[in-house]
Symmetry: C2
Subunit: 435 residues, 2 copies
Amino acid sequence: MPVRLDAQDPRFAEGFEGLLHAKRETSEDVQALVAGVIDEVRKRGDAALIDYTARWDRQTLTPATLRISQEEVDAAVGKCSDELLRALDTAAERIESFHRLQVPETTDYRDAQGVRLGARWTAVGAAGLYVPGGTASYPSSVLMNALPAKVAGVERIVMVVPTPDGAINPLVLAAAKRCGITEIYRIGGAQAVAALAYGTATIAPVDKIVGPGNAFVAAAKRLVYGTVGIDSIAGPSEILVVADNRNDPAWIAMDLLSQAEHDTSAQSILITDDAAFGDAVAKAVDTHLETLPRAAIAGESWREHGAIVVVRDLMADSPALIDRLAPEHLELAVEDPDALAAKVRNAGAIFLGRHTPEAIGDYVAGPNHVLPTARSARFSSGLNVLDFMKRTTFVACDADSVKAIGPAAVTLARSEGLDAHALSVALRLPGGGQG
Amino acid sequence: MPVRLDAQDPRFAEGFEGLLHAKRETSEDVQALVAGVIDEVRKRGDAALIDYTARWDRQTLTPATLRISQEEVDAAVGKCSDELLRALDTAAERIESFHRLQVPETTDYRDAQGVRLGARWTAVGAAGLYVPGGTASYPSSVLMNALPAKVAGVERIVMVVPTPDGAINPLVLAAAKRCGITEIYRIGGAQAVAALAYGTATIAPVDKIVGPGNAFVAAAKRLVYGTVGIDSIAGPSEILVVADNRNDPAWIAMDLLSQAEHDTSAQSILITDDAAFGDAVAKAVDTHLETLPRAAIAGESWREHGAIVVVRDLMADSPALIDRLAPEHLELAVEDPDALAAKVRNAGAIFLGRHTPEAIGDYVAGPNHVLPTARSARFSSGLNVLDFMKRTTFVACDADSVKAIGPAAVTLARSEGLDAHALSVALRLPGGGQG
């Protein structure tokens, strides 16, 4: 049964602390194995990719067939229904429009001392997108990871996706095509991450790797971090729903289950000001579970990690709890969601009002669905265009402006004992290094 | 002697590859030791901090004296010369002005389908700033790390600085005061990082830790990453100077040495189109080394890791080399630095023209001096205000707008086999879950 907590209970603090720090994921220790795979790919390149793909995906490849051809992509698109392609297109258009507003501007100005200053943003040269194969192969993830890179202006976007026994979700290839990705390799696991990071004869290396994956992929991303940039390593999904008793319990119950069905280690929490409403939601969860296709997963997640927290006053009491949980997804099904949102510091994404189920954000709302998990919304943000760009600052002095600001630099550099620093400025001042 | 490479040489590619991948740092394996220290601080809190500080900094502290008092700070400021305080103030004002332009704006709009969408930025709740003690204790680093946090609006900025044998650089405390930091603890090493990440009875935990440190501090930051956010782990400093023969070789030589004097593993590279000018710079370096106080360090760095690369045409040939090196600092001492900068994708910061020595950016130009090293400018940026903020997206649908965009979400969710996702949307559509 999910945890029940009442903020009036003297042992509430302890119970809530438990929610915050419960380990939901069993971390497999795959680091040594993964390090070995990466070494092999660095040493043997394509040959290693081909060997691992034969062993783990039961696919016989050659350097020439590592890449999925445009004909295969087009054939896959042909297998998708028009309804599905239209829905994909709606999602892609909305995601692209939302992300286009994130493109940052260059600053370039001259200050009162005559120093020219500024910062410009450039896209990373090449980005690699990992797409899981099999049942966790989600076309929506392709859109959410690739479109920010496209909007950022990344010139080369490479996708890797394993095709165990030759199987691939056609809509994944359709999503890639919709994003303009033409360079797709049928490889997966740590070996694919290694190929993206270090390159092989067939696959040129990239600068940044993003996308979800299993424990092997996550470990590989950690190990290649530094050689390339990576997105954050996502933990299990979470939703926190804040709801008063003027909601339909069946709606709120389904929202909780929409996270729970992802994974048995997902977490769904309800905060309400009405214990009876909490009971009604719990009952509706049980009713939904009777018919839900993924009831086994969703039920286990809800029983093991779910929680219903009852507070006295949602507006007064919930913001502090929300900020400590720093949820990936925050749904505010209350009378004045804006007022409550204004009191919240930490959340990956907020869904405002009774008609905004979190799942709308997973597909078509526009904002990214790759969001900070495990309380990291305290210090990090969802995937966005800036993740595929970097900022270069610039300074230009002339003989006059270096004279205006240089002496302070000389003073500070000398005080830090860095005389070459001081002299490199002083040489450009009147009197040169003698100043 | 520094490496000499000529782009016309048939073996140039190989030599340049060597520059790119040379290991300059010996990584001490301190992870196990550091993990033990972190565990102790988590278990024993203040008592562990006090024990480690007695052992490593030879300081006897109590929970009450862990914190540096305002009186001590004021006394330290009193020891700094007026000239030094004025220089600090010039630097702080310029850094603050530059960073103020980075504060991002909230977006909030309604799209054609009536969906309200947007993203807002909030500061992290608390930031911790690590400041090294002893000879590597740089007041300029305090400004560069603290001011972006202050500009971001971080409510609580905590500084930790070890005071081995009671010693502290008074200008470091003056810099902290200038940044408005009042919460300062006289602790350092992995134990200080652990206290910031997990908290003790005296020190409340923070959300993000930034600042330079030795191998122990770097390992501790890596280990607490995830529990808190961290800045990047900086490698040894680098400069790439692109200079034609119309520069004074003595100026360029000093610029190269200003990086080299940081550390024996720092790297200074000159790209020029005139081999004779390269020779003149090499000679000027040797001349400077005869009198430079840190000649031992700078000389070793230059001999072991320095390089002079001669190309045929700076404008045509250097951009590709620059992008591969992705230098932390790029100085363009050429006739038209803007034209050359426009052809460059990867650099942490660019210094334009003959009168802009890199060191001006270390202190007073305004942009941050915490910059991506080890080729990570390919995918990451210097420290900035955004590092102390995070972005929360939001969506609000009403009954009409969820009807407009919901069906596409239902279609995609069903195709991904996520029925609770589909139903949580469908329940809000006309016809409810039957649609």
